[in-house]
Symmetry: D2
Subunit: 362 residues, 4 copies
């Protein structure tokens, strides 16, 4: 890996874009060479474009600070400046569909945080530990959409990683799951900036996040699905019901889960053994952002907790605890992950590393 791959960030001045800039500083494989944003930011130095709205705790990486922001809508301009783009654009749905397709049509792989393409059946929604094999659909996607060597890959909603990786580990070990009822306690950073008003989250929690429950119930089935005939066919054998709450936490989504197995039921110690020994494609390929181990099981009775566990595995690990029998289903447990790293920019970077390791970007 002598020379780093040049990458672009679309929507570079927003909250997610800032996370990309932060996480890609000093990345061993990727080098930011292009920053795309709205016309109002175009032409400015990055440091000026984000003045007064840089929300990361670290300072702007010095290399990026002086780079000139370009108009993300000027696709021709980006070509040649980078070999892959991370999309953190925030626009109307149709505009997202059009702009990301335009980049792909120019031959650029696009790894997107936006939800616009998630329901589309030839666009893989990737959690690298689970469905790296869904990348097999890309030749079909390229052919069907006239993308040439470009393509589109997306990451799922930020609320599902904490339980999807643990339940996938069980499914992979031969214990398919039929039913799952879960309640999330989600951090405010999941809502972008400014997100919820502080007056609504002091001495309070809010039992509703617009659109979140639907995404939490639909996206897992696609991720667990199979590529068949140029389409990703969702796995309808699992039914999920999600209650989503906003809580006064900066970062870290918690999920309290009850699960029922479809067939045979493992013992509790076997489940813990499966989780602790779980490893997947990102770990086997030694991707730079892959957490080792991907699942941390805590024996403490009162964990995982956002404040204490969100940074496990450089904020890319899933922390699980409190496995115990459920009175109604088979088992219950609590999962937690860092929503703006594993659940957003970090998850996309891991997907891009996967693409790189598989030779799909060059």
């Amino acid at each position: 890996m002598e020379k780093k791959l040049k990458v672009g960030v679309l929507g570079a001045t927003g909250m997610v874009g800032q996370n990309y800039v932060r996480l890609l500083a000093n990345h061993p494989w990727f080098d930011i060479s292009y920053l795309g944003a709205s016309p109002s930011s175009a032409g400015k130095k990055y440091t000026d474009a984000v003045a007064g709205r840089w929300h990361m705790r670290e300072a702007i990486p010095s290399k990026v600070a002086g780079m000139t922001v370009e108009d993300a809508g000027n696709v021709d301009n980006a070509v040649g400046k980078c070999s892959l783009v991370f999309s953190a654009i925030e626009m109307e749905k149709q505009a997202v569909l059009d702009l990301e397709a335009a980049y792909a049509r120019k031959g650029s792989p696009v790894v997107s945080n936006n939800s616009a393409y998630r329901p589309v059946d030839d666009i893989p929604v990737i959690i690298p530990e689970i469905n790296a094999d869904h990348l097999a659909i890309i030749p079909d996607q390229q052919k069907k959409r006239g993308f040439g060597k470009g393509f589109i890959v997306v990451k799922p909603n930020c609320s599902i990683q904490s339980y999807m990786i643990p339940i996938y580990a069980l499914i992979k070990a031969g214990y398919p799951i039929s039913k799952m009822i879960l309640t999330t306690l989600q951090a405010v950073s999941g809502a972008g900036y400014p997100g919820p008003a502080s007056i609504d989250l002091i001495d309070n929690t809010v039992p509703f996040i617009s659109g979140e429950e639907e995404k939490s119930e639909v996206e897992p089935r696609k991720i667990l699905g199979k590529v068949v005939g140029g389409k990703i066919v969702p796995d309808d054998s699992i039914n999920i019901s999600a209650h989503c709450n906003r809580v006064p936490v900066t970062d870290g989504h918690t999920a309290c889960c009850s699960v029922e197995f479809a067939g045979k039921k493992p013992e509790a110690d076997e489940i813990i053994r499966i989780w602790r020994s779980f490893t997947a494609v990102p770990q086997q390929l030694k991707l730079p952002s892959a957490p080792v181990p991907p699942i941390v099981y805590s024996d403490e009775p009162n964990r995982p907790q956002p404040q204490k566990d969100r940074d496990n595995g450089k904020a890319m690990a899933i922390t699980v605890g409190r496995l115990r029998k459920c009175n109604v289903f088979d088992y219950r447990f609590v999962g937690l992950h860092h929503n703006t790293v594993r659940g957003a920019a970090g998850g996309s970077i891991l997907a891009a590393e996967l693409l790189m390791a598989k030779g799909m970007v060059t």
Copy 2:
């Protein structure tokens, strides 16, 4: 109701005891005439006994401030000073069992917040809107235990009222429930004083409360049970699974619930109609602390919220919202109640009003 009933508060200097003192000030039926506490407080004026640890937002009611605290263990001394005692004592389980029985044996009705007697099959665990009929067991209890005209009644754990009253309304309307999976977001006041350390609940939530899940699963079955042959026989036809979380909220427990009906399934609008028109013994008897209506259903998409709904019905109403289909069970909804009023001292006072209205205390 010309003359008020003289009542005592055992454990009057603690957090729950202070809530009794606060809520009984200006009560139309009850008058505090006795304050019992530990020997170290005995002999002091109440205002001195709680100096530096009065945690209510209102000032100490002037009438009580100057009263002398007595040794709660000196049962003979209490006799004649009051006609009913509210017990908020915090001691080892056996000591609670002994002391509350001693008061009953001296002829005093005891309404207790302590959990010691809750599992005992001749002691009713009362939520007045649900199981006022369980009071029928008292003559058996008195006979069996040699209590004379004294007896013991307890209130349930503070975490269950927000969903028990709504599901009871459905059961009573002819829609029995077989399964329930729920997750609570519980306020810190539920842990007494000092309760959780602030450093553990700033930018954090904790997915564990010792003993809470067990109580939340067992007590409802007893409350929904029947008095048969001098015993309260729990209703085993309902299975409940509870995940209990502590969140940075002062007062107000939230529960996110998924329920499955045992038989026929009502339409959503019928459920809302049942809740909104629900009324029960406390409302029919016009008990002073009975909320009218007992269940407030909110149409707002993001309610109930602790900060905004805990004080509904003078903090005695249950607020429910977000009724919607569940992907796995039949329906889901969110319930909320004020844990230190409806869930603790206020719930016990309502039970005492019920005893009074039924002529069981004089």
Copy 3:
């Protein structure tokens, strides 16, 4: 006071306007008969105009819920519908100056929360306990501005009441103050809705509130000033330095104050005696919103606290504590008041009651 005075609320749909609506429900002297807002709300029922953005904890008062909102800019329309308007409009400064003057010119007394007129030398900035005598300027204001029987009175910034009333009590008692250095810890409700982002106030405080320090230093001098020749001449004998912080508190501004007396210095017990016995025009006139006493001095070592003291005197009292010697100046103390009641709508309503009691509105 047989018949209530008809009053209007301009900017009735905003956060401050909602506070007016809430506080004027059941007011013994005033009756809301007019609701003015932006053209986009005009013609709607109030309940529809605030749908999804009603931020008060109580429900919309039933009487107001069904009233039709009018276009506040249509001044002629308001005339005859009410005899005084409370202004909570949020517009560009010049638009505020113009609109409030238009109401006054039509003969309407205007009591405003907006800061636009505060620096103007013939407009009194009223804290009724301090400078009720500044109302003497109104005839001059009316003449100079051609207001007829209309006029404009404003309330000061919401950050200053907690220390201005205590220091005025001392000044009035013969102990003028020359220097004051203070630091505020201000609640988020002071910023309106949505105000600060929750992510900026979880595990954090912010040492800056735009424009707040300047207002905190300038407005007190005008309030302590004198009416001379048709102008309010500020009292330049007091120098104030304010540090303003935003903290994660819903309601209640705290101020930590060090003061130096200009001349003779009272003993600490004399200061406390002055505060506890302080009474002023609103108390003497028995105005309905006047707190009795206006200043509550707490002997507890760790008070005042927002959560526990903001509602003293129906949220209209100032709570003071921790009077002690200062190492640099003469004394220090901590003051606290409820910023959206005493510091905003409640303060304005008290000023309107003063106008009414003095026969200045009819």
Copy 4:
């Protein structure tokens, strides 16, 4: 520095002791070889001794986890096992005085977090950037107290670093300060574990921390003092008045400061230049924990903030912002530091590095 110095931690199982264990893991100069605690922990493995009360976010360093905890009171036992002890013992004042002296008498340098020795005139209270020269008193201390080669050095209270280093930088540059009035907003971790109850810091702040204001006013004078005739003579030319508040922040103490210069007054840009170019003994000696630069001045209008600035310089830097004219004194500014690192264990480790670099421990 071929071989690391063996160090001990007294009070190793408490909150401060845990911070030492965390910060000394992987220290380039020091190696923990001795863990002292109360008799109840003695004989246990460290991991067992802190089971259920390990409050650091990182896991227990593996090297320390298996070490056996010793009885800190058994001083003879410690001798030979380590060449310096960090004292984080929490006992009655006299017991602290006795135990720390016992270690010194056995020849061990003691660097203490405890306040017991701070007022004693031959014990230096060290902030290494300010008064490294106070170490000159050690030979006198050793002689006077019969300590042999042992001695005692202490760190100051955790609330003062954020302003002491900035004002020292000004004093050193030729601008002595005569008066200072400041208000702190202090994090809950400063109170140890469990510290304040969460119910007291949700939607609240507390304007009082026992003993904190006195320490904040007295200790700075000693630190700025001079070694004269075997005593540290405090600098009485500066008068400080401190208001100390507890706020709902995990880590990071903020101070809002107004200062008056004794003589000539620098321009604002000169002050900023002095702060930004300030460097001192720890930086010159390249001590491993010395932040470079020690003072970070932020130009942002709303900084420093605990959440965003406490980790500057690996949590050892002081962040300063908002320098502006004061209406009463000359200037005001806001300072911030990490209270459990720079203000506690990290500050002591820096002092120990200073001792090492100066050849005072071997």
